[in-house]
Amino acid sequence: MDLAPSAEQQARALAVAELLAKHASPERVRAAEPLGFDGPLWQHVSARNWPDLDALLDLALVAEEMGRHLAPAPFVEVAVSRRLLRAAGVDVGVGDATITTLALHDSSSGVARLVPAGAVADAVVALRHGELVVVPIHGARPGAPVSNLGCLPIADCPVDGSDATQLMGADRAGAAHTRAVDEWRVLTASALVGLAAGALDLAVNHVTHRHQFGVPVGSFQAVQHRLADLATDLEGARLLARKAAWSADQRASDAPALAAMAFVWAAGAAHRVTTDSLHFHGGYGYTLENDIQLSFRRAKAWALVLDDPERELSRLGDTLYAVVG
């Protein structure tokens, strides 16, 4: 066991952090609202080939940094859909700024509902009547924002047109789509871990400097102890998301279960961390001028793009304990 990222991984995380400090500052994140997309930022990120990294663990470590900065860029969706396209034999250019995304649910109805990055994507990969298709998205970009809690570029994507291209037939489409969604779960868990870490830093900083009753509010145990629990939950989420990514790279048999575990735990931890971090800012936390509201809204939204986390837990229960035969 070795829990330290490699020198290469550390150097890359540092490069991502440096780039995002410049191009995904809280001001830029705010300016990208309500659509939730920053074109120049995306040019930088895609030009560095980060969405094209091979190992899911490498992608996960980048996603953590993206999450920490609330980067308005469709990193997770592009990374996951490109992996799926490549698995289908499509020649996807490395370092390309083209945005592809993945419809997370079965789209046999003809319209993929509220697809993440759907509002800014050039094409969407979808599972439709058992087959996997890629459908170009026409129309003016950036697309019209669908007003939503997290200022996410989500949009309904029609997938029943004649311009759909089949990627995989029924023989392997379902399994490939399931695996891609599992990868999305892992990378989103990683992004949520980064997001929560950023929020916790804001809270720790605030309660260290804010004085009431003549002492820093961070010296009150009622505050300290909840932050300690949150830091612990978050550390667990980080380890679990990284392990899930690593297991997927190893093609381990428990990789699907770990992906679900990582997603459910990170969604819960990010929700708890951000709500309490907001709370410990007092009234200022409720104001739009305070940055904590940015993470508070996104913590819920990033996870809910998939589904009710409780339903994800049910799925996990079926995976782990379903009675076969």
Partner: protein
């Protein structure tokens, strides 16, 4: 990064399992259950014969020189099998301290017997009025020529009724600041003036003790560390203690096995109920988190760092999680979950009911959850210190 446990560790794991299967007999389990004493001499001596009491000790101290991962695996397997290892862990805490702070005579006379499984050492820290604030201990030690005279009371002195020695925290200077007036002694339990009285617990059942010390005379040779330097010895010992434990692994395994076979009145298996599966899944996630946090502690130690904050997080999470999870597993058994081990129709032979009671103690001893949260907050997150009375 690599999340796989080392292969040598896996080989060792099978060896431990074989050992436990052989020595953890029904007879041993029955005796633990009857006496509430989570220690068994025959089992303990078998560990000694195998060389596993000193598994992690350097070879020159009579140990096997095994690394932190093998030790972790050893303790995981013991926990999973519910082996009676209280005596082992307490004794090792003191023996580790003696290796660092004991006199040559103490090391020569006691350590080989510890390794052979002939000696158990209990911990005399807590007193009726001092628990978390352990440095406020009052049991007095007064010099009398070459001897010391001890007077006072300890409580929660677990295994005092089995141990050959007690590692005793005493007050030698009442005027100094509280951390600077403490001295440690290693006192034979058969010294005249020591009385042991059982104190029964929620364990199923469980026994700890009150211990009374009346004009107990010990030679200065029984002292460990400097006079008034007991706090440094204590804190050295405490760093050997926290590592985090497994989550509710055994309780989950028992519940899953029960749910697969038990039938509802309509004939369906309990596990067919999606609500049951979802709740089992939640416990499975918490167990995974607990395991990862405690593996991180081991990894930090293996990297040569002192895992103070990591260990506190791991112990905080796993003990709180076990309390939550065993309660939920008990609930999902329905009313039958109430039945205790002696009832033939108790689900999972009452194992979850027992686990649920025992879970209450993990958040109390070895540093209460509140004490650990303060460590994580102040040392881990760097928050300003809470102003407490000194």
């Amino acid at each position: 990064m690599d999340f796989a446990l080392h292969e040598s560790g896996e080989a060792f794991r099978s060896e431990v399992r074989v050992f436990l299967a052989e020595h953890l007999t029904q007879d041993v389990r029955e005796r633990v259950r009857r006496t509430g004493t989570v220690h068994d001499w025959r089992f303990h001596r078998a560990l000694g014969a195998k060389g596993w009491i000193g598994a992690g000790w350097p070879v020159e101290f009579g140990g096997q020189g095994r690394g932190p991962w093998e030790l972790r695996i050893f303790y995981e397997e013991c926990a999973r099998a519910d082996a009676p290892t209280d005596g082992l862990s307490m004794t090792l805490m003191v023996a580790n301290t003696l290796r660092v702070a004991g006199t040559e005579v103490q090391q020569r006379e006691i350590l080989p017997r510890v390794l052979a499984g002939e000696v158990v050492i209990c911990l005399g820290y807590s007193e009726p009025d001092t628990g978390s604030d352990v440095a406020a201990a009052r049991l007095s030690a007064i010099r009398d020529g070459d001897d010391w005279i001890l007077n006072g009371q300890k409580v929660f002195t677990s295994l005092a009724h089995e141990a050959q020695y007690v590692f005793l925290l005493t007050r030698t200077n009442a005027d100094a600041p509280k951390h600077r007036g403490l001295t440690m002694f290693l006192v034979p339990m058969d010294t005249p003036g020591i009385d042991v009285e059982p104190l029964w617990t929620l364990g199923a059942p469980g026994r700890t003790n009150r211990t009374f010390y009346t004009d107990v005379r010990v030679p200065d040779a029984a002292r460990v560390g400097d006079v008034d330097g007991g706090w440094d010895v204590m804190t050295a010992a405490l760093t050997f203690e926290r590592g985090g434990t497994l989550g509710a692994v055994r309780a989950l395994e028992e519940t899953v096995a029960w749910a697969r076979t038990a039938r509802r009145p309509d004939g369906s298996a309990v596990i067919d109920d999606p609500l049951v599966r979802r709740r089992l899944a939640r416990v499975a996630i918490e167990n995974e988190v607990a395991a990862l946090l405690s593996h991180r502690t081991t990894w930090t130690a293996a990297e040569g760092h002192l895992p103070g904050v990591e260990g506190s997080m791991a112990k905080l999470f796993s003990s709180e999680s076990v309390q939550r999870c065993t309660a939920d597993l008990l609930d999902l058994m329905g009313t039958e979950g109430l039945l205790t081990q002696d009832q033939p129709d108790a689900p999972a032979a009452g194992a979850v009911e027992a686990a649920h009671r025992k879970a209450a103690v993990a958040r109390i001893y070895g540093g209460t959850s509140e004490v650990l949260r303060s460590i994580v907050a102040e040392r881990g997150l760097g928050l300003p210190r809470t102003r407490a009375a000194r």
